[in-house]
């Protein structure tokens, strides 16, 4: 009996000794180090103009982008859900594709990183994105993408050609989605304590050029020397500022939804 108590006391002491890590309060920030590899990561920020916590969450995501590289992290602000419904003077950034991607979630802000688990209905809070972003940046890049845009000012017609270059041999079914993004739109946004009537909305998703699921890039075996090309077009809405519009293209594995690479190009 005494031995048992002794064993218990020893185990408790060991747990006590090993169970605490004290962090030096003067050294809590990790240094930002350049991340190896070339793969870019797409963060979809499911947001709403009437969502009071969304601006702070977007700021955190942009801080992450700022530190890790604007050529490696892309943020797509997808307005979807109840708090994105336009009421009164709040802007209408709703899109059909955004509503499909949002997949009936019940709150904002929510995030997905390269679609991880999004197809299963899961999303992340902004505090949860840094770990999956870090992991995604270190993945092997399977495809490279180049985007060529042709924009006709008169007709406001935008033609997009994307070329996909495998970085090695492989096999699978891959789709690409081409998105229209408008940056720096000024409008009403709910913030803690009221409404910011001159809020600057960043990277607002305006719809896709080829549907929510995109279009087929490759199905079956592929080889490093292959080049796959897709084309798509759209007429830019007259209310959009073409000088602030971008085309964002991502290629993904059709079987699990996982995004493999993302690029963004100005339309003019």
């Amino acid at each position: 009996m005494k031995r048992l108590s002794l064993i218990f006391a020893t185990a408790a002491l060991m747990l006590f000794a090993m169970g605490c890590d004290k962090i030096d309060i003067n050294n809590t920030h990790k240094p930002f180090e350049p991340v190896a590899g070339q793969k870019a990561v797409l963060i979809k920020d499911f947001t709403g103009a009437r969502c009071v916590n969304c601006p702070a969450a977007a700021e955190t995501a942009h801080e992450l982008q700022h530190h890790l590289g604007e050529d490696r992290i892309f943020i797509l602000s997808v307005h979807a859900g109840f708090l994105a419904q336009p009421i009164g003077n709040f802007p209408d950034f709703l899109t059909e594709e955004g509503t499909i991607w949002y997949n009936n979630h019940d709150s904002n802000p929510l995030f997905s990183v390269d679609h991880v688990d999004l197809t299963e209905g899961y999303t992340l809070n902004v505090e949860q994105i840094d770990a999956p972003v870090s992991a995604a940046l270190n993945e092997v890049q399977l495809f490279d993408i180049t985007t060529t845009t042709t924009y006709d000012e008169a007709s406001r017609r935008l033609e997009v050609e994307n070329s996909f270059y495998p970085t090695g041999d492989g096999n699978g079914k891959y789709y690409a989605t081409v998105c229209l993004v408008e940056d720096s739109i000024v409008g009403w946004q709910t913030i803690p304590g009221g409404v910011d009537r001159e809020y600057v909305f960043r990277n607002v998703f305006r719809g896709t050029l080829n549907g929510a699921d995109g279009q087929l890039v490759s199905n079956g075996p592929y080889y490093m020397e292959d080049v796959f090309t897709t084309t798509s077009s759209i007429e830019i809405d007259s209310t959009y500022n073409a000088n602030q519009c971008y085309v964002l293209t991502y290629i993904y594995n059709y079987e699990n939804g996982k995004i493999l690479h993302t690029v963004m190009e100005k339309i003019k």
């Binding site: 218990f8 408790a12 169970g19 605490c20 890590d21 992450l64 840094d130």
Partner: protein, 578 residues
């Protein structure tokens, strides 16, 4: 030779059959099943003009426990196909959610599987399942309980907590990856059991202590996250005659997390309770201080995800419809709370007590914020800045920021053999911005009253009438609001509620009710929420069918809450146990 083999086999089979028979004879099996289903319909009258693809939600579980002497085992199966509105979408799924096996001979007890347990009041460890919240933070692992001497209990446990349907072993870069391992020990000494001289003493005393640590994975790009976070607690219970006193103090080392905005301050909690009781009279005074005590096995967790600990609320639990609309939700980042509860029964046969006596109850509880002072971080004075200490806080200082106050008085009186009445008045202060996150929304200051009258028609039939009213002091019809903030007023302003219930014992109950937000400042929100309910009870089986509207609100159990959106439709609940 063959003959001997046959005899041996026969003997073995006989003994096995005999022991199996005895094993089965000593067995006890019990369990329960419940299915809650809601069929949703469009109801533009209360703003539901899109069902968002969900016409139905079904939550169901079935659990079976087996006991045989010192051995017990159980399983629980759950199905959310899909989950009902207001429950987390991560619950969607079906499967075996929970299982366990325990052997306990009084000296040693061992459990493997999903463990529910609590150390002290729960400041450093509590795992539990609450069906109505869709919450289950069971620890899947092992537990040992040793009782080396009379009155002494030692516990040790470890495992990983349930996170909806996330697998326990798989680790990849989804939101499951920072879920850590929880290890804990607890010791309790009941002096009255251990010391013979105190066995029958009026003086009662017990002591306890706990230490719990989580091992988590630092996946952060921004901050150094401690991979081992420990929390310790000590408790003391004293009693003498009609008096009793209990207290518990807990301390947690640096634990930056999404809940505390990634600050590195230590956490502390203290609760003390003094009570006195005698026949017809009882009083309890409780005080509590909580500072940065959210403790989760995943530092990125929000809401009620993966809570290792539990911070007990010290507020009156209202059960009637309007008083329970504004229920306090514990604030783990900081609160100073106090509660006084006094119960008195006016004796039978007195002028005020009448033939059956009269029960009176008074309760007052208030919760304020703690005081936070800024700290120096990189040459700047900051408060709660991520990556800094966060703040310092004077232990006994109380902030002027009041979160909640509830002053209520209740009278419960049996007037005659056939008539029974309960009435309560409540004065409420509810900081809806802090508690429910409605940024900028004005505080709810309200007077609430209800009367619950039961009339026994005969031995089998009875009628019950509830009349309730909620009157806000400031926000009501005519209150000026910003158009952009209209949604924050969805349940605000004055309410009236009436319910009539007809019961035929022991099987049937019928009720109709209406909850009316007649004094909402927004005209389009002045809605009626009609419901009709039929329930049938047969022994341990209950079937309830209700139809109508449900208003937006929160459901809270033990200070832990979930938001319920407004809905309209039909609800069916079937439950049974054996």
């Amino acid at each position: 030779m063959r003959k001997y083999i046959l005899i041996t086999v026969a003997l073995v089979l006989f003994s096995f059959r005999a022991s199996a028979q005895s094993f089965l004879e000593n067995s006890q099996v019990n369990g329960s099943f419940q299915t809650d289903a809601q069929y949703y319909v469009l109801d533009k009258g209360i703003g539901i003009d899109d069902l968002l693809g969900k016409k139905m939600g079904i939550n169901g579980f079935g659990k079976v426990n087996y006991t045989n002497g010192n051995f017990s085992a159980g399983v629980r199966f759950e199905a959310f196909l899909p989950e009902m509105n207001g429950f987390r979408s991560e619950l969607k799924g079906v499967g075996l959610a929970n299982f366990f096996a325990t052997y306990d001979n009084g000296f040693i007890g061992m459990t493997v599987g999903d463990i529910y347990d609590q150390f002290g009041c729960g400041f450093v460890f509590r795992t539990y399942e609450e069906w109505s919240l869709g919450m289950d933070n069971a620890l899947r692992g092992a537990r040992v309980v040793i009782r080396p001497a009379k009155g002494v209990t030692l516990k040790g446990l470890y495992g990983r907590q349930r996170y909806y349907w996330a697998p326990y072993l798989e680790r990849d870069f989804n939101d499951d990856d920072t879920r850590g391992i929880v290890r804990g020990v607890d010791a309790e000494w009941d002096l009255n059991q251990s010391i013979p001289a105190l066995n029958d003493s009026k003086f009662r005393m017990s002591l306890g202590g706990s230490f719990v640590s989580k091992k988590q994975y630092d996946m952060s790009i921004f901050y150094y996250i401690p991979e081992n976070v420990g929390a310790a607690a000590g408790r003391l219970n004293l009693g003498y005659g009609n008096w009793s006193f209990s207290t518990e103090y807990a301390y947690k080392i640096n634990d930056p997390s999404a809940i505390n905005n990634f600050i590195y301050k230590e956490g502390q909690a203290l609760m003390a309770s003094l009570s006195y009781s005698q026949k017809g009279f009882g009083a309890v005074l409780q005080v509590k201080r909580v500072d940065n005590m959210s403790f989760k096995s995943m530092y990125t967790g929000k809401q009620n995800d993966l809570d290792i600990n539990f911070i007990p609320p010290i507020n009156y639990t209202h059960t009637h419809s309007l008083p329970s609309m504004y229920t306090y939700s514990t604030q783990p980042n900081g609160e100073m709370a106090a509660q006084l509860q006094v119960n008195y029964t006016i004796p039978k046969g007195t002028a005020l007590g009448g033939k059956y006596g009269t029960k009176l109850a008074f309760n007052m509880s208030q919760v304020n914020d703690i005081v936070r002072d800024s700290v120096m971080d990189n040459g700047r004075m900051v408060i709660s800045r991520p990556g800094s200490l966060g703040y310092t806080s004077r232990f006994f200082a109380v902030s002027n920021h009041r979160f909640f106050r509830d002053i209520n008085f209740e009278i419960d009186k049996r007037i005659s053999k056939d008539w029974h009445i309960t009435a309560q008045y409540i004065n409420l202060y509810y900081d809806i911005e802090t508690i429910e996150g409605h940024a900028g929304a004005p505080v709810v200051k309200a007077n609430i009253g209800f009367m619950d009258v039961t009339y026994k028609i005969n031995k089998k039939q009875s009628l019950r009438l509830e009349l309730q009213g909620l009157w806000e002091n400031e926000v009501h019809a005519g209150y000026e609001y910003e158009e952009s903030e209209k949604k924050d007023y969805q349940k605000r302003g004055d309410w009236a509620f009436a319910l009539l219930e007809y019961t035929i014992t022991p099987h049937w109950s019928f009720s109709i009710a209406d909850k009316w937000n007649y004094g909402n400042p927004v005209e389009e929100y002045r809605d009626h929420y009609f419901t009709g309910t039929v329930s049938y009870i047969h022994e341990a089986t209950r079937i309830m069918l209700s139809a109508g509207r449900q208003s937006e609100g929160v459901v809270c159990v033990g200070g832990v809450c979930r938001t319920v959106p407004a809905s309209s439709g039909v609800t069916l609940t079937v439950s049974t146990s054996f």
